[in-house]
């Protein structure tokens, strides 16, 4: 026993390193369990207060610097929105009739009602400190009704696009795993041709997402710029939310399926406000 104590005293630094590495490794292994999620939530809730305060100051500086360019950008967006509004007014009359017809048909076929969502608006207060992961922290949490795995969307350039999902929730803050992250997977489909695939992030600095598992004969039907949206399969993300546009195909002769490079609809580096979807019905 004395020898052991002597050994530890003599090699204090190495022993401490060994212990810390073991603890860190165990944390990684048990990261997704309840054992680790509880301290994570407590830590997040505590530090979110400081992130919120510092983030507000940073945003103030950012707004001053960006205000000049922002005015021009807003003018462009307003013009685009006005044109789209005129278009939507024209087709809104048809939608009312179609909706009525759809309801009647659904009742006849005894199909389930569409799922309704409540939109919880939140502001981004902090970004991930490392480039290995693509996450953002928002200023709403458990007290605002946010729960783990809720889908998150945003509006950019007049389009609604999928941002990711909630992976961690504190009292007044939550963390979103964006689609750009390498561990993010979304079941998706081409809007026009209905071909299904799986979209996976490629990292923070990658300009594209990767859609894989698409049938080979899709290559003849898909066109550059086609919109890819969430398929609703798996139940995590609702159906019909735009994810990106097809840009390039990756096809090797020996592959049984195709891979596509998808340009995301949402520029994750320019996110300011997001909307968390909460199922109400």
């Amino acid at each position: 026993m004395l020898k052991f104590k002597g050994f530890i005293r003599k090699n204090k630094n190495i022993v401490t390193l060994f212990i810390l590495l073991i603890i860190s490794s165990c944390m990684i292994i048990f990261a997704k369990t309840d054992v680790m999620s509880a301290p994570n939530r407590i830590g997040m809730s505590f530090f979110a207060f400081f992130q919120n305060s510092t983030g507000s100051v940073a945003k103030w500086f950012s707004n001053i610097i960006n205000s000049i360019g922002k005015v021009e950008e807003l003018k462009q967006e307003l013009k685009q929105a006005e044109e789209e509004l005129l278009q939507y007014k024209r087709i809104s009359r048809d939608i009312i009739d179609l909706r009525k017809e759809n309801e009647e048909l659904k009742q006849e076929l005894e199909l389930l009602q569409d799922i309704d969502f409540e939109y919880i608006a939140a502001e981004i207060i902090a970004w991930n400190t490392e480039h290995n992961f693509s996450t953002v922290t928002i200023n709403k949490g458990q007290l605002s009704g946010i729960e783990k795995n809720m889908p998150v969307i945003a509006f950019q350039g007049g389009l609604q696009g999928l941002v990711g999902k909630i992976i961690s929730v504190g009292l007044n803050s939550a963390t979103i795993l964006t689609l750009a992250d390498a561990s993010s997977y979304v079941s998706s489909r081409f809007q026009d041709s209905d071909y299904v695939g799986l979209i996976n992030g490629r990292g923070v600095n990658s300009e594209y997402l990767l859609m894989s598992g698409v049938k080979k004969h899709a290559a003849s039907e898909i066109q550059y710029g086609d919109i890819i949206e969430s398929s609703g399969l798996g139940g995590l993300y609702p159906k019909g939310i735009a994810i990106g546009r097809y840009r390039k195909i990756q096809a090797k002769e020996y592959d049984t399926t195709l891979k596509f490079e998808i340009e995301p609809v949402i520029d994750f580096s320019r996110l300011e406000y997001v909307y968390i979807l909460k199922v109400t019905d």
Partner: protein
């Protein structure tokens, strides 16, 4: 209060401030979507000045703080930063951080080391990693960014009293 404990507490406070600034203010100063790792620069300063024990302990708790800030990857950052704190703690008393070039080289080496260790941790623990070329590009940009900022940060940290070197310190 024990001197060593006080040193670690004050160092952690400094690292916390660095991390806070990194996750908020430095988001505005990104280059090609990569921002500098200010907390890493502070950690290597603490390690080179104060030795192995403060280096590795501060590295471990810095990693935990990062996990709390980002809500993800508990243990991942702690593992990488503990190793970096230990390695740079070995240089205590051997390197003078007064010259411009030393912080530049230290920060560059630390960032490359962080990239290699992170990559290994991704592989060993089967954690999904970014595309390899994206990862390498991010590490390269971050290395240059950290190396350029390190002399300025070291200059600021040299004036902090509890971080001044003392040959007689025992932990």
């Amino acid at each position: 209060m024990d001197k060593g404990f006080k040193l670690i507490m004050l160092s952690l406070l400094l690292l916390f401030i660095a991390l806070l600034l990194q996750s908020t203010f430095f988001e505005l100063l990104k280059i090609h979507n990569v921002k500098p790792d200010i907390s890493l620069i502070v950690l290597i300063f603490i390690a080179t000045r104060k030795g192995i024990m403060p280096g590795q302990v501060c590295g471990f708790f810095l990693g935990l703080l990062q996990a709390f800030f980002s809500g993800i990857a508990t243990g991942f950052f702690a593992l990488t930063k503990t190793i970096i704190g230990f390695v740079f703690g070995l240089t205590e008393g051997t390197i003078s951080v007064s010259f411009f070039i030393i912080p530049f080289l230290l920060a560059g080496a630390a960032t490359i080391m962080k990239g290699i260790i992170s990559g290994l941790v991704h592989i060993i623990f089967a954690i999904p990693a970014p595309d390899i070329w994206v990862f390498i590009l991010n590490v390269c940009i971050e290395t240059v960014y950290n190396a350029v900022l390190a002399p300025i940060i070291f200059l600021l940290l040299r004036n902090i009293r509890f971080l001044k070197p003392e040959k007689s310190e025992v932990y």
